[in-house]
Symmetry: C2
Subunit: 105 residues, 2 copies
Amino acid sequence: MDIQLKRGLLDVCVLAAIKDGESYGYRIIKDLKPCIELSESTLYTILKRLEAAGSLTVRSDEHNGRLRKYYRITASGLRRIEDFKTEWKEVISVYDFVTREDGHE
Amino acid sequence: MDIQLKRGLLDVCVLAAIKDGESYGYRIIKDLKPCIELSESTLYTILKRLEAAGSLTVRSDEHNGRLRKYYRITASGLRRIEDFKTEWKEVISVYDFVTREDGHE
DNA sequence: CGGAATACATCATATCACGAAGTATTCGGT
DNA sequence: ACCGAATACTTCGTGATATGATGTATTCCG
């Protein structure tokens, strides 16, 4: 998918990936793979950004002697998904403008 | 609208604004206003980018003693709009993922 | 006469996706 | 027992991009 189009979707995709329960980085990437592809460097940047914004919380835990960071969505993060849905109406109207058959007369 | 969402739409909006006939910068902004807002600096950056990409051609003309640059969409630009429509199917499937009621079980 | 509108241009800045590279552990196959 | 793949997270540099600020110059309207 075009990188510019992805920009508006990635953050909210990551939030959607954890909205039904805690998850961690590597698994988020795999869960999102059928939906949208993103690299590790991209994901961890996004997770940090979302944490800084208060959209999710982090908890470090040991899993088989290996560190894992579990991410959980917050109320603010859920709200962000709702805001996205609201904004989507605008996006659709832009899409309609772009794909309309004939012009502004 | 969220700036990240706009990023995927602006180029194609500008192309859509000239797809039914030549237009110029200031008018494009006004024509797009009901659809999507963009500043002059943004528009002229986009027009330059689209020209470099061969999506449109420019023609300078004098209008009431004042310079005007008229932009016309090319076949490649029209194709770009078609590509956008194709990609939109992916976008919709991402949207469905984000807004699905319940999780990946 | 003056300010708003028209019209285009340049620059600096902030945000962001991504590849590359690194560290460290576990697991499966032979 | 060994080795490569998979797991898991981190940091750094780069390139693309939207935007505000600022500038220049002309026309139109009250």
